[in-house]
């Protein structure tokens, strides 16, 4: 019985894996097709004459390195910002004994119900008036803290025993030291999740960065790739997919890396009685 069940589970997992990996496979296989063969051999799952031409082209010609750099800078600041602001805000709200703290959290959470796209035009106008369109600021500032992250970390802070902080106070730590030395490390599992989500969300973000930039100087990878692979009348799919493959590498690496930490982080939760 038991081994049959595990076999069933394994089969189900394999099917799921195949479904999820298929688009990735298509992306990679299209990226290694030679020029002109993409459309004529659209349904060839295994490229007949694989070539790295597209990769060579994208790395040597277009401002690919610049996009990559821009993405890295923007996402780094956004991730750090979310870690710093969401954790401090969540901690302050969770540990406040004042009644309005809960109201603040409720207000914050309610902002998650506003669709992002409704805020697009006001955000654009605002940044335009601040003269920030087509700068890093436009890509970083609006994304520095996400209400969901505050909410998520808040829930986690609630599960951290308060006595641990009190022990630190008695040990001689002030509020800041207690936060940085005791609370922040205890939030690690939540922080890893926030960092991973924020990274994925922003690394792949297209629409807002597309609207908020005009030049290659600040364009991020998804935006840059879309524009670069756009010919006069057609899209160079091979080129686009090569870029997308390269862009996906950090995501995959980061995910593989963080996943280990997520598991470890959770099993390392706070020690109680």
């Amino acid at each position: 019985m038991r081994s049959r069940n595990t076999k069933l589970v394994a089969v189900a997992l394999l099917v799921l894996l195949a479904i999820n990996l298929f688009p990735l496979y298509v992306m990679v296989s299209v990226s290694v097709k030679g020029e002109g063969t993409v459309l004529s051999h659209l349904y060839d799952l295994i490229p007949s004459e694989p070539t790295l031409e597209n990769y060579r082209e994208i790395v040597s010609h277009g401002p690919f390195a610049r996009y990559f750099f821009n993405s890295t800078v923007v996402v780094a600041f956004v991730v750090l910002g979310n870690l710093a602001f969401a954790s401090t805000a969540a901690y302050a709200i969770a540990r406040s004994r004042r009644k309005y703290a809960n109201l603040m959290l409720a207000l914050l959470v309610s902002t998650m119900m506003i669709p992002k796209h409704i805020m697009m035009i006001p955000l654009f106008t605002l940044l335009l008036r601040m003269n920030l369109i087509d700068t890093y600021y436009a890509l970083v500032l609006p994304f520095l803290v996400d209400a969901f992250n505050v909410f998520f970390i808040h829930q986690y802070v609630k599960s951290v025993p308060r006595e641990m902080e009190e022990a630190a106070f008695v040990d001689g730590a002030g509020l800041f030291t207690t936060f940085t030395r005791i609370v922040f490390p205890a939030l690690k599992p939540a922080l890893v999740v926030v960092a991973t989500n924020t990274f994925l969300l922003n690394w792949n973000s297209f629409l807002l960065p597309f609207i908020l930039t005009n030049s290659d100087k600040v364009r991020t990878l998804p935006v840059g790739l879309a524009i670069f692979s756009q010919g006069e009348h057609s899209v160079d799919w091979g080129l686009l997919m090569a870029g997308a493959t390269l862009a996906a590498i950090p995501t995959i690496v980061a995910f593989a890396f963080f996943q280990k930490h997520i598991v470890r982080g959770i099993t390392e939760g706070a020690v109680r009685g």
Binding site: E163, M164, A168, F169, V170, E268
Partner: protein, 366 residues
Amino acid sequence: MAQVVLEKVSKVFDGDVVAVDEASIEVADREFVVLVGPSGCGKSTFLRMIAGLEEASSGTISIDGRVVNDVAPKDRDIAMVFQNYALYPHMSVFDNMAFGLKLRKYPKDEIKQRVEDAAQILGIQELLDRKPKALSGGQRQRVAVGRAIVRKPKVFLFDEPLSNLDAKLRVQMRTEISKLHSKLKATMLYVTHDQVEAMTMGDRIVVLKDGLIQQVADPMTLYDSPVNKFVAGFIGSPAMNFIDATLKDDGGLYVDEGTFKAKLPSRMENMLRPHVGKQITFGVRPEAIHDEASDDFAGESASFKATVEVVEPMGNETVVYITTGKTPLVARLITRREIKPETEIQLVMDMRRVHFFDPTDEKTIV
């Protein structure tokens, strides 16, 4: 030198929950004071106000002659051991213990020396590199105590530090903390809801109920002369028997329970005289009930018949649950005689050791 003085200290939560009500006490330097009381009586709040983790709503708290009401916990020079240990999970045992010293910028070798000394005292030298999650409950408890002692603070505060340990370990740690107290010569305040811990560890015991201090006394005084029915019932195990009775004057004073009647020692007469003809609560400890009178109290004893309900032989003694037909009682008999349930038994009460409480305010009459 560290005296802890509380003057009319109260704590009111959210405007209406009075957790501690005008508590006043002077804890002498090097004294071991135990706070005991049922759950929710305000013990933790009491301790937390001394630690500075909770602000007193009124009254003054002073440590070592300095009023500390507005002093942050970190500047009070106290250490606290929490019920659930509250170790820092991401730090090794060494770092857990060294944390307070590092914050106070002690030199590295002194930190090492102090942590090792404390580890030596507590027998946890082997564990210094481990993380808290790799420790057993008893080991965590030791680390928590170690974290407190490395700093050599003026005052130690313990909030039910042993309640998460198994019975055997609890007894062991109890004596270790007592030893630690005489070794460190420090002032200690210790919270527990376990009256055995209170009796065995405290120089003095503070009994709390509903935020009010009921009595402050050394263990024997508390046991022999409780000020009210609550203290009498809380201290001692099995608890004191309480019997509703009427006081009668038949030539001498008698207490009449309905099924039995007992003459009172003459020394109690003056105090009890005003209560003649009234209801009274009559208290007797289980060990003041014997299966036969011995010479030293034969003159002041009362014998009565009871039905045995449950027998708990302990080896050295036998705890029997009996009923007089009207009142259930517990007796601790030092006897090797076999006692069977559902039999009649003849017992005697040592009338020198009975207590009387006013049923209206529950205060001790005598």
